[in-house]
Symmetry: C2
DNA sequence: TTCGGCATGTAACTCGTTACATGATTTT
DNA sequence: AAAATCATGTAACGAGTTACATGCCGAA
């Protein structure tokens, strides 16, 4: 399936970028729906070069620190566009360890179950708060459709809706338990 | 982390069960938040036996068909309970290929993007319809708290809320695009 | 001069999927 | 008699994590 391939290709397509900076991108907005460690990114970049989808240029920063600045090729752009246009079946439902634990919770007593939900509620609220803080930096100006910022905005909103719905689920469970 | 280990342990804890039937469970309610193929389940069962967490008894069905019926041990029950009670950090945000594609969609034109969202909307609605159908089989009788059925009901409701929230997100995106 | 961040890589391992492989039983 | 389903396994591969490994640069 090679999804990481296209995640990287998408980033390199926006602007020439180094492996290090790709890793950083995977820890910002992007982290709300895709991510990877540098140990996965560097080998994948090498593979993409071999496939002729990207090129790199070695940049010397300061005295001797080598950076590799990757740029997308025409072949890479075509490959990315083809992937963006493809119509696929739905991904399988994402796995959820907390739900798995609650699914088997009948062997716990009520108080123990409630404690689990309450702990999860705190953590989810914290995450939602964080996402809202990021969202507020957009300062009520919804970016133009078809701009890189619109992508950021869109998926951030998706992440907020997802957390809200998870919190709603927890609250419903707690109401039944109390 | 060995999550599959506990998913299996949780099922075996409910009732003695064969590997084949565990595989089937992973394609019902459970599939809304955990699943595995038989090729992963059989080796894991062997491992759990080695660890003394489950036992099995060979059953001959019909003339000569061998089944292995697995039962949880005391050690297994303790291990499961410990796992159920543990307080963990939030899982990383689940990966989402569709959101990844839309994140990079600025290189497509508006009509192409809208087509992508509309296709996704149809598929998500279909899935929601399916989940609602399953839910209606509960026939308005919410199962008792602390029963195996309550677990089923709870996670099914979670799955429905999740799909609804995804659909809400798609609609918001479409409204902005139109 | 030391510490945190910049920058790139590899090795070993776990987790999960697809495909291969076999045979028994039930249903059409 | 054939097809679907029951039932259990292994092999090869791909994806992802943790740990190992190295060296540069700027700020305190």
């Amino acid at each position: 399936m090679r999804t990481l391939k296209y995640a990287i290709l998408g980033l390199v397509n926006r602007n020439p970028i180094t492996g290090y900076d790709i890793t950083k991108e995977f820890n910002k907005e992007l982290a709300n729906f895709w991510y990877a460690k540098h140990s996965q990114i560097y080998p994948e970049l090498k593979k993409l070069v071999d496939e002729g989808l990207i090129n790199f240029e070695v940049i010397i920063a300061g005295e001797s620190l080598e950076k590799k600045l990757y740029t997308i090729t025409e072949k890479g752009k075509e490959s990315l566009k083809k992937w963006l246009l493809q119509v696929e079946d739905l991904d399988p439902t994402p796995k959820d360890k907390f739900k798995l634990r609650m699914y088997f919770s009948e062997i716990l007593n009520k108080e123990e179950i409630i404690l689990q939900f309450e702990d999860q509620l705190i953590k989810r609220n914290k995450k939602l708060q964080f996402l809202n803080d990021v969202m507020n930096e957009y300062d009520r100006t919804i970016p133009d459709v078809i701009s890189p910022e619109f992508g950021d905005y869109m998926v951030l909103e998706g992440a907020i809706l997802r957390e809200q719905s998870y919190i709603e689920w927890i609250n419903r469970c707690l109401n039944r338990l109390k």
